[in-house]
């Protein structure tokens, strides 16, 4: 028994180390990103400004508060949300190949935004439509799966319903692109679908942050229960988990947070697939630790990729493209590493 406690202490020591490392990395990444840009700052200038409020340079506060900070916070939120949603979905669907858009959340958002752009709605109109249609797509998938899965495998039916919903909304996106004015509307739609953090403002963050918090907290708290779902529905039920209710809560929370970030940032793929793998590699499969670890590493990753997107070339590289270019090879690396650890 002493041995158990020792192992437990060793284990928690390792976890503390990893989480401390991630937090330090996060803080460094934030400082680095704040200094990076066309208007360069030194870290010492930045720290002086943060701790004393004094600045030798009069334009520093403007650049920092109005341009860089919203974008940094935006990147952190988007990264954390997509990673947590991806991790939760991989656990929920018992499949490490699942990403947050499995139930059609991105396709719905994409259609909502394209429709709004075609109808010449304002920026807020586009965001509201993206949010509404991404929620609608997921609830449609849930509803369809409820109807068709009488005694079949519920999870399989849910995935298939999600695929069908996504296919329909993708077709509608294509339709919107086809009928959109190719000089003014089509570029806007294409650009929105590629995803970007360039235009995020504090006002948007003020709206999104509470929604994200409402969705993410229950997910983090339900980590242990999510583990039990790994054994499949029947066993989880026999272990005392109300699987239907748990699944519904997780899907609602994940949809709320994903829809909230997709409507301000557009479609950003891959991160919800890679970060769960990376985090599992760091802290193991226990969702109690895996979800917070995904949250941290996802936001760090997103912030760094967005730094590349905005400063690697004079023209901003669309985030969606960059994430796929960096993410896809990285995914292969994690995959080859993780097969060695056999999962």
């Amino acid at each position: 028994m002493n041995e158990t406690i020792k192992v437990k202490q060793m284990e928690s020591g390792k976890l503390t180390l990893i989480f401390t490392g991630l937090v330090i990395l996060l803080v460094s990444a934030i400082l680095f990103s704040a200094c990076l840009g066309r208007y360069p700052l030194s870290v010492s200038d930045l720290l002086t400004y943060i701790f004393t409020g004094r600045s030798i340079d009069t334009s520093l506060p403007t650049v920092l508060l109005n341009v860089r900070l919203p974008r940094i916070i935006g990147a952190l939120i988007v990264g954390a949300v997509l990673s947590v949603a991806g991790t939760a979905y991989q656990g929920l669907f018992r499949n490490p190949m699942v990403s947050p858009d499995i139930l059609g959340v991105s396709s719905g958002a994409g259609f909502g935004a394209s429709l709004a752009i075609t109808l010449s709605l304002s920026l807020i109109g586009i965001q509201l439509m993206a949010f509404a249609f991404s929620m609608l797509a997921v609830f449609l998938a849930l509803f369809v799966s409820k109807i068709i899965s009488k005694n079949h495998d519920k999870i399989l039916m849910l995935v298939l319903s999600g695929m069908v919903t996504a296919a329909i909304f993708n077709a509608l996106i294509s339709l919107m692109k086809y009928i959109a004015d190719s000089d003014s509307k089509l570029p806007d739609i294409t650009f929105w679908l590629m995803g970007s953090l360039a235009s995020i403002t504090f006002d948007e963050i003020k709206v999104v942050l509470p929604l994200v918090t409402i969705g993410i907290v229950p997910m983090l708290l339900l980590g242990w229960k999510l583990n039990v779902l790994s054994f499949g529905d029947e066993e989880a039920k026999a272990l005392g988990v109300n699987t239907g209710r748990l699944r519904l809560i997780i899907i609602c929370c994940a949809t709320l947070i994903t829809a909230s970030v997709v409507c301000i940032a557009g479609l950003i793929g891959w991160i919800g697939l890679i970060i769960p793998h990376f985090s599992r590699f760091l802290v193991g499969p226990n969702h109690k630790y895996l979800l917070p670890a995904s949250c941290l590493s996802g936001s760090i990753f997103m912030l760094l990729v967005d730094d590349v997107a905005r400063s690697a070339t004079s023209l901003e590289i669309p985030l969606g493209i960059l994430i796929s270019l960096i993410g896809a090879p990285l995914f292969l690396v994690f995959l080859s590493k993780s097969t060695k650890k056999s999962w």
């Binding site: 708290l221 039990v228 029947e234 039920k237 005392g240 988990v241 109300n242 499969p285």
Partner: protein
């Protein structure tokens, strides 16, 4: 305590697989469930666990219909041991056993020190403490089955429902599992175990329930019920049932003629 089925009709999508099921399991008793492939053993188990809704009839735990029990309440009294299966993520053995504590935790809770010590005891009882920090996915089938039994014991249930716990295990591991089942009975658990080997019923000195042609065909003590004619009827092969009378092994055995 008693787990009881009254006039059960069980099946899928309104189509009955088995009907007229009347059955009773008490604590401190082993019942071996016999029946050929597809007879409806798993259907019966799914219904008993409340995973599959009965078409008609009632299932009572402590005289109370199981649909009136919440999932955690039910799991604190009835543990389920399925056939060994794959797991998508590499949880450690300790984690897997701790999953057995889920029904004792609050909604947002996770296992604490007491739960860990209890899980430790369960591992020790099954003599698999050395596997504690191994990844469940890397274990052999026999080891996995023992871990799943430890997980069910961590639920501290009064009843165990075991669905062919020895399937896909080698000869030695099969016997180890049967020994464990006997030991658990002596700890006054009530066990219902589906098995494909009628010998297991003799080894456990168990009662048997035979599902045949869509109904509960025979019930009673194995020595009275498991006969050559009955085995011929269920499995369609000639089997000799003989008493192996030497002092170490005083029990009936099944010897199929090939």
């Amino acid at each position: 305590m008693k787990l009881e089925i009254k006039n059960g009709v069980f099946g899928y999508a309104g189509k009955a697989v088995i009907r007229n099921i009347n059955f009773e399991l008490n604590t401190g008793e082993i019942v071996c469930l016999l029946g050929k492939n597809g007879a409806g053993k798993t259907t019966l188990f799914k219904s008993m666990l409340g995973v599959l809704k009965p078409i008609s009839g009632s299932i009572l735990l402590n005289e109370k219909p199981i649909e009136h029990w919440s999932r955690p309440q039910f799991a604190r009294l009835v543990g389920y041991i399925p056939q060994a299966r794959s797991l998508p993520f590499p949880f450690t053995v300790m984690d897997v056993v701790l999953f057995g504590r889920t029904s004792h935790l609050s909604t947002f809770g996770s296992p604490g020190k007491k739960d860990r010590l209890l899980a430790e005891e369960c591992l020790e009882l099954l003599k698999i403490t050395h596997l504690k920090n191994r990844s469940f996915t890397q274990l052999s089938g026999g080891e996995q089955q023992l871990v799943i039994i430890a997980r069910a014991l961590a639920q501290q249930p009064a009843f165990l429902v075991m669905d062919e716990p020895t399937s896909s295990l080698d000869f030695g591991n099969q016997i180890k599992i049967i020994r464990q089942v006997n030991a658990l009975k002596n700890n006054s658990l009530g066990i219902i175990m589906a098995t494909h080997s009628p010998d297991h019923a003799f080894m456990c000195d168990a009662n048997v329930a035979i599902i045949h042609k869509g109904k509960m065909w025979k019930t009673g003590h194995s020595n009275d019920v498991v006969s050559e004619e009955i085995l011929k009827e269920i499995y369609g092969v000639e089997v000799k049932v003989r008493l192996l009378g030497n002092p170490e092994c005083n029990r009936l055995v099944c010897v199929p003629t090939v």
